[in-house]
Amino acid sequence: MPATDSSSAAAPLTSFGRSFLSHRRDQIPPPPPDHHSHSHTQHPSSSDLEIDAFHRHAADLLHDLLSDSNSDPSAPDLLSLAWTRRLLDSFLICLEEFRAILFALADSQPLSRPPLDRLLLDFLDRAVKALDLCNALRDGLDLIRQWRKHLAIAAAALAPAPAAQRGEAQIRRARKALTDLTILMLDDKDAGGVVGQRNRSFGRAGTTRDSLPHGHGHHRRSSSGGSSGSGSGSHLRSLSWSVSRTWSAARQLQAIGGGLTVPRANDIAATGGLASAVYAMGAVLFVVTWALVAAIPCQDRGLQAHLTAVPRTFPWAGPLITLFDRILDESKKKDRKHSCGLLKEIHQIERCSRQLMEVTDAAEFPLADDKDSEVQEATQELVQVCGSLKDGLDPLERQVREMFHRVVRTRTEILDYLSRPHNAG
């Protein structure tokens, strides 16, 4: 009977990974699974070739993320929803290939032998931190989904039958929705996720014991909310975050990227090159999580974590650094500096809601033609953003969940492998 837990390590790539791999086969052949490799019989350069292929493919994937619409008409704009989805796709492919190469070469390069075990454990530490980011990102996406609802109300109010002019009623309704939206967005920006912590002050100290409900003990209670039902924004609480309030995305990123050191040449040699693959995966993990936090609202979002110098000798170093720098540049732009997320759609929301609010501020009715066409224009953009959010948010959230589960799985498999005794039994 085989050791049952090895089956999970050898689990086939998911259909997702496979289709992507085969899709890209024309460019770089994926490393062939090498089950027969034994350190004695194996040609010394075979594992090198596979690891090289991994590095080059990572470089390709990153490079694709940098292509703009000039070079590739199908390329989505940097930091758009579609781009972010592509970013996650690329990450998942990288992770899948990393995992495949790790276990394919594990026979010739036992993972549990130093220094590889140490490097892997270090990578796994970073991976755990990415899990909480995934949860926080999901909350962030839910927040955007919430914004979208208000946006949709505004869009619905302003975009009735094409020919109709927008009357005071529609403008009023849209302005109200946009005001609510702005409050929500500001709320998030100011607080950086402090919102919702009203209920976060509970700990698990003994005080909670007596408040445990006794089944029927739920009484009708009135909310401790604002004193007046007519307060304009007091009721608009954005979502609570599913991470504790002291949690910080910025700090998390620093932990993921911190101490990411280039493996020494003799470590690379001693591990048949796997040390460099682990390093590459760590760097990709960091930049991808960093880019996601850049794009999506997060509790205590911040991009201070920096990418420690990556040697240009790695084929992916160039595109990785460029990607990092481009996003950093984007975050420094005047109109984006204080944004709650660099996602292109968030920018659009901010821009067109601001525009609509300005145009319709103290407007006379019926609207003058030029104003109305201005409103119409902004409305079109509004409708378009609404549409792309509607189409993009759910798949992106699923990808973030997928990332969570894949990271968990990869981590479990590596730990399994490391803990499995190889000399006994």
């Binding site: 619905a156 929705a177 209920n199 909670t208 009135s222 609570s240 803990s419």
Partner: protein, 659 residues
């Protein structure tokens, strides 16, 4: 009679109005006073009466043309069709009211509504105010629809719509206040405001399944058969009235949003009171198992409370408030509890992704079972498409917990393999790993249905057709895996036995552990899982080790004692004395060592001693008696051990170091 009376009353009012009213506005003021005074004098009726009078006096303007302005509809979410059918049918069939009257209507409504909208207290603090306001809103909605259908008076339509949007803003505030602070509202008027409630189902009930029952009630759940009624029936009725107006006017999204925002606070606080602390995956990974056990012990009841009481209660409330107003109720419901639900779920994810140390099995099984048992009960609560993603998350966490259990159970194997062979049990006794594994497996058998389920990868299948998995057969995945673990244990013990320099002690060690395993298997469900065949094999092994022991320890002793058969010439006396001396040495050595060895099982101990005695005693007795009967050997014969001594010593073997 009543009809008659009402007609008379209306006629009287009309008369008063005509005699007193010198201007339109004044007339309207009076109308309003009357209409507020008595419910029978609704504005509808008064206006209808007036319109009838007016049209009898002169013709109205030609109204016609399709309304090209539809109610503002969302581009993404299909709104239910505005209830314009009745209105336009009326407009087409009967004579449309004259434009002038419409203008007046709007003006009247404006005046009336403006007062309400400007009110600095809750309109619903006074049920008469609330009724009047709702009635005005209904009129306004009807008017807007009529104007839209007519499509001739754009200016008036815009005015009416603008008024409507102010109404909606106010209704939204009232709605939120009523949900957040239901006690501030006046008790619902007797009989409530139910003027045209019967129309609802025709307008909105079609096909969405909500129109069939007056109040959909969440399916009660066993054990947690409690429903939190956060709002009194009166408050629910009030809130429902508002929701209906908002949806009627095309403000369903706003209504769903404000509902969700208002309920979220309650949901958050309810969950907070359960004392579960949000834990990041990182914290879970870094926490000690004791802490996590504590958290899990909190989490399971909290999870049940939330998913079995709180969420179904929210569903019920939402279904009542948005009765007949799908899909806004579904939207509102998900938005209200999504975050808290996900947060609870994420703890399950974090636990599943953390360490797979074998001792974690039982608590994780508890978590898995809580989630799995919940799944079928979720169906009625999460039936709509908006909740589907949430339902999927619960299923997903059930699966990850299941795989985690599988992983933890597999980890037992690694634990056995890793157990160092450096230290063997003293005196060949039962090794701690044997005790650990057997007790672990016995305890695991208590959850064998669940374990079988996860071994089969059959997560959360209970209640479904696939639930017929019978773990109690030696070919089930669980049984096969347990047999495999027993194999691993056996191999590990075999390696450990090699540490003993004395091969006899190795045999005793294996015997002891083998016997212990058999015992534990026999007096638990493990016996059912492993089957009779397995037990027979194991028993044979123990017997073989026992025979090996006899051979290795006592073989040379009995060989020494062989005298070549009685009567046949026989050995010379010196040779026999030599044999005795050798026996004495061997026996003393064996006794000194092996009396400190251990055979834990009493029966086994008795059996082994009996086998030793059976092998040794006859030959020894024979040797002694031959020596005694030999004339050469008899003198200076030194018998160190009489046969009785030997027998007694044998009975003291394996008593352990303590002796």
């Amino acid at each position: 009679m009543a009809e008659d009376g009402e007609e008379k009353l209306l006629a009287t009012v009309q008369h008063i109005v005509q005699t007193l009213g010198s201007s339109d506005t004044m007339t309207e003021d009076i109308l309003r006073v009357f209409s507020n005074y008595d419910g029978r004098l609704s504005l509808d009726k008064l206006y209808a009466a007036r319109a009838a009078a007016a049209s009898a006096a002169g013709g109205g303007g030609g109204l016609g043309g399709g309304g090209e302005h539809s109610m503002p509809e969302s581009p993404t979410l299909p709104l239910p069709p505005p209830p314009a059918a009745a209105v336009s049918a009326a407009a087409a069939a009967g004579r449309p009211p004259p434009v002038t009257s419409m203008e007046r209507t709007v003006r009247t409504l404006d005046r009336q509504i403006s007062q309400f909208v400007a009110m600095d207290r809750l309109i619903w603090a006074d049920s008469a105010d609330a009724d009047a306001f709702l009635e005005a809103v209904d009129d306004l909605i009807g008017t807007v629809q009529e104007l839209e259908a007519a499509g001739t008076n754009r200016g008036l339509f815009d005015r009416a719509e603008e008024l409507l949007s102010r109404c909606m803003a106010r209704l939204e505030e009232e709605f939120r206040a009523l949900i957040e602070r239901p006690d501030d509202a006046a008790p619902a008027a007797p009989g409530g405001f139910r003027s045209d409630g019967s129309d609802d189902e025709e307008d909105f009930g079609g096909g969405d399944g909500y129109g069939d029952e007056p109040i959909p009630i969440a399916k009660p759940v066993t054990d947690y058969d409690v429903v939190i009624d956060a709002l009194s029936p009166g408050s629910v009725a009030n809130v429902h009235q508002i929701a209906r107006r908002m949806v009627d006017a095309g403000f369903g999204r706003e209504c769903a949003e404000v509902y969700a925002a208002a309920r979220r606070g309650f949901v958050d606080e309810s969950v907070a009171r359960l004392g579960v602390r949000p834990r990041t995956a990182e914290e879970v990974h870094a926490s000690s198992w004791e802490e996590l056990e504590f958290d899990i012990a909190r989490w399971i009841p909290a999870f049940n409370m939330v998913f079995r009481i709180l969420i179904p209660s929210e569903r019920r409330l939402c279904d009542r408030v948005f009765d007949g107003l799908a899909p806004f109720g579904d939207l509102a419901f998900v938005a209200a509890m999504r975050t808290q639900a996900l947060q609870l779920i994420s703890f399950g994810d974090a636990i599943s992704s953390s360490s797979r140390a074998p001792e974690r099995l039982f608590r994780v099984v508890d978590m898995y079972e809580a989630v799995r048992d919940l799944l079928p009960d979720l169906d009625p609560v999460f039936a709509d498409p908006y909740s589907a993603a949430l339902r999927a998350e619960v299923t997903a966490v059930c699966n990850t917990l299941g795989s985690s259990i599988k992983g933890i159970f597999m980890e037992l194997e690694n634990l056995i393999r890793r157990d160092p062979a450096r230290v063997a049990a003293q005196g060949g006794g039962i090794h701690p790993i044997t005790r650990y594994v057997m007790n672990y497996l016995r305890a695991a058998c208590g959850s064998r249905q669940t374990l079988e389920e996860v071994m089969e990868g059959d997560f959360g299948a209970v209640g479904g057709a696939a639930a017929a998995v019978d773990p109690d057969r030696p070919t089930s995945s669980l049984a096969v895996h347990i047999a495999w673990i027993m194999d691993v244990l056996h191999k590990n013990l075999d390696i450990k036995s090699k540490i003993y320099r004395d091969p006899s002690l190795a045999c005793v060690f294996l015997m002891n552990n083998g016997k212990y395993i058999i015992q534990k298997v026999n007096d638990s469900e493990l016996g059912v899982l492993l089957g009779d065949e397995w037990i027979k094999q194991m028993t044979n092994r123990v017997r073989r080790w026992s025979m090996d022991y006899q051979r290795v320890t006592w073989g040379k002793v009995t060989t020494v004692l062989q005298t070549g058969g009685p009567g046949v010439g026989g050995l010379p006396a010196t040779a026999m004395k030599q044999k005795l001396r050798m026996f004495n040495t061997y026996f003393q050595e064996i006794y000194e060592v092996q009396s400190e060895w251990v055979i834990a099982d009493e029966q086994l101990r008795v059996d082994v001693r009996a086998a030793v005695a059976e092998a040794v005693m006859p030959v020894y007795t024979a040797l002694i008696s031959r020596l005694k009967s030999s004339p050469e050997a008899r003198h200076d014969l030194y018998i160190k051990y009489t046969p009785e001594d030997v027998e007694a010593c044998i009975q003291h073997l394996f008593e352990g170091a303590a002796k």
